[in-house]
């Protein structure tokens, strides 16, 4: 490894901070906030890894990247080798390096974290992946001989993209069907440019196309064609459903349909997918007041808060019924939001949205909370404090309290087993649903989760699909039809 250092010396190297745009500057632009390591920074950070014999970090990574091996390659300055190691497990490293909640995964269990700050695994992953984006050559795996099987992928989020990439590599003919006019799922319509530049997602999609994957946008499965029709009329031998958790939840409090109340999905879709931040250059508008309240404190909420700041709102308030410690957002995003000047009101929950006679939002009435006994999720349950209600003057409210499964596909697919929340039930090893030949993965199975879990599920499903096609399905439909 790089220099010959003793573990104690390695531990003395401080974790390299991520270069970032200045908070004052960045809160009025949509450019990426985190700027990425330089090669020197990356190599120095890589020296901090102890190259554990039994690396805990690998256990913490949902897709089991050989983290010490890739970090060693970084320390040696062999960046492309590092990338190849990562790519064995992770199809979308430039994306995961940016958006993984590392502090709950690989970095949480890194041994260095016991006494010091963990090795910056995510930042190193991103650094390595960015080299490819900047034009570094990577050897693309040779696709296998064409199998003759056709697979339909429904949804182009990380689950669908990863599944498509694996299947294409295995030699199957893959078509991705996407309801929106642009592929990428949440990576494109949800996560903002300042956190995940859209060029990166486009790059990955272009790569898929180079591998022969067909991408059909504006195709709403369940409406344009059902899953059954894709198999029986369109000739697909197997289908993967990766439609995500796209159904916005509302709280059910009075005033939620007033003008000025958005779901996080609507707000972010207007701004990210439709580029409302550049209205009137782009035709889709977004109407936002000077005082904005966002309800919730996950990644989605952080994205809404920080987007509102960037659109010019002066006072942006976060309302969350638990405390900062329970906030499900990535730590980095939470810190960035704090630096950018978001007014966090912890232990605060809205009870009513106030509006005027024109139905336009004028404020939100909130109640203070305290934490009680832990609930079934293990988190302490917030309990309203009687008599603590007060009003906050705002002109826009964004509901970022979670999403459920969109029923368009599930309701139009007869025989598909769902759980009581409407998520698809699958066999965990193959990801096959209750319908033979129909597989599913990502948020539509787990409920709203993470990019890396969705990606991992897509990969697992690809292996399941491949096994199914080669054993159970026998001949490709096309050939079967020709010989019949």
């Amino acid at each position: 490894m790089g220099r010959d250092l003793k573990p104690a010396e390695r531990l003395k190297i401080p974790r390299h901070p991520m270069p970032a745009q200045d908070p004052v500057v960045r809160r009025s632009n949509f450019n990426e906030v985190a700027l990425g390591y330089t090669p020197e920074m990356a190599m120095e950070e890589a020296e901090r890894c102890l190259q554990c014999k039994k690396p805990q970090c690998v256990e913490g990574c949902p897709v089991g990247i050989d983290i010490p091996a890739f970090i060693e390659a970084v320390a040696d300055g062999e960046f492309l080798k590092a990338l190849e190691i990562i790519k064995q497990k992770n199809t979308l490293p430039a994306i995961c390096g940016r958006v993984c909640p590392q502090e709950d995964q690989c970095e949480q269990v890194c041994v260095v974290a016991k006494k010091h700050q963990p090795v910056a695994i995510g930042r190193l992953e991103r650094f390595v992946a960015d080299i490819e984006l900047a034009g570094g050559e990577v050897s693309m795996p040779e696709p296998a001989r064409p199998s003759g099987f056709k697979v339909a992928i429904v949804g182009s989020g990380p689950a669908g993209l990863a599944c498509a990439a694996e299947l294409a590599r295995m030699g199957h003919q893959v078509t991705i069907f996407e309801a929106l006019h642009k592929p990428g799922g949440v990576l494109v319509y949800g996560i903002p440019e300042f956190r995940l530049p859209k060029d990166i997602v486009q790059y990955e999609i272009d790569n898929l196309k180079k591998m022969g994957v067909e991408v059909r946008c504006n195709f709403v499965v369940g409406k344009t064609a059902s899953v059954k029709e894709l198999m029986e009329e369109w000739g697909y031998d197997a289908v993967f459903i990766g439609t995500g958790a796209g159904l916005p939840y509302f709280m059910g409090i009075p005033g939620e349909n007033f003008i000025g109340v958005y779901s996080a999905n609507e707000f972010l879709t207007r701004v990210n997918l439709m580029k409302a931040f550049a209205f009137p250059e782009y035709d889709t508008p977004v109407a936002l007041g000077n005082r904005v309240a966002v309800v919730g404190s996950g990644n989605v909420a952080m994205d809404c808060l920080r987007t509102a700041l960037r659109l010019g709102s002066e006072h942006v308030v976060c309302l969350y019924r638990r405390t900062r410690a329970e906030s499900p957002a990535r730590l980095e995003e939470l810190e960035h939001a704090e630096e950018e000047g978001v007014d966090f009101r912890w232990l605060t929950s809205p009870v009513e949205i106030l509006g005027n006679d024109d139905g336009v939002v004028t404020g939100v009435r909130v109640i203070k909370m305290e934490l009680g006994e832990p609930d079934s999720s293990g988190r302490r349950r917030p309990i309203p404090i009687e008599g603590s209600e007060y009003e906050i003057e705002v002109d826009t409210v964004v509901m970022a309290i979670g999403q459920g499964p969109n029923p368009l596909v599930t309701q139009t697919t007869e025989g598909l087993e769902l759980n009581r929340w409407g998520n698809i039930v699958v066999d965990e090893t193959t990801m096959m649903t209750s319908i033979p030949g129909v597989f599913a993965g990502g948020d539509i199975v787990t409920g709203a989760a993470t990019v890396i879990l969705a990606m991992g599920a897509g990969k697992t499903a690809a292996v399941g699909i491949d096994g199914y096609l080669r054993q159970t399905a026998g001949q490709p439909r096309a050939t079967a039809a020709a010989t019949a």
Binding site: F219, K223, A225, I259, Y282, D283, A287
Partner: protein
Amino acid sequence: MARLISKETIAPAFTRYVVHVPEVARKHRAGQFVMVLLHDHGERIPLTIADSDAEEGTITLIVQEVGKTTMEMALLEPGAEIEVAGPLGTPTHVENWGTCVCVGGGAGIAPLLPIARAMKEAGNHVISILGGRTEELVILRPEMEAASHEMIYTTDDGSFGKKGFVTTALAELIEERGRPDVVIAIGPAIMMKAVSDMTRPLEIPTIVSLNSIMIDGTGMCGGCRITIGAETKFVCVDGPEFDGHAVDFDLLMKRQRMFVRQEEEARRRFEELHRCRAMESAEVK
């Protein structure tokens, strides 16, 4: 990508488009719509499928030019490629009710046409009441006549058909002929509200088709939500047709005005741009 096959002006600021999009044409049923996006910088807008031809692989859209996107659409030439997703929304519930009165106002006549057709095919006796400000704004008359057994026209000034609103004609009809079995009303929210208010005390089932602002049209954003009775519904997936007696029209009308300022700005800019272009080309000539 879908391809524009033909376009034709059918009334002032009303254009009929035929678009080649075979998957949509094949699956279309009355009451459904598509989301249309003209270009990379455009806005996704919902438009009802007024007609479809599964064999030709085409759908017909009838669009009133009311703002930037619909005006820009009117400038497209046949051969243009646009993005079209669909067919979206829940198809009309069609059954033989008996007597079915179809009430259409303005651009609402376009979505009414396939429904009237389906109702007639299902065996209903279809009476259509169509209204507009002036005669030429009462669109699709031959098509609606073919889809109906009886026709009643109204114009605001009485220059064509009866004088007054469609509601006046509906009230007269009910008075003379008794209670129809179902009323389908499509048009401006204010008109659908007036019709629903009239039929509610008479307990005549009334179906309306709501035109809330949409983005995705697939149930993902909740921007199209409205209040039906005590419930919140998404127009794009739960509708666009609802029981008129349960709709909170006042809220719908307020929500439709959510972006008026921006819409006006976009239209002004668009018109200025095109006026400049027109002047420039005039100078060149």
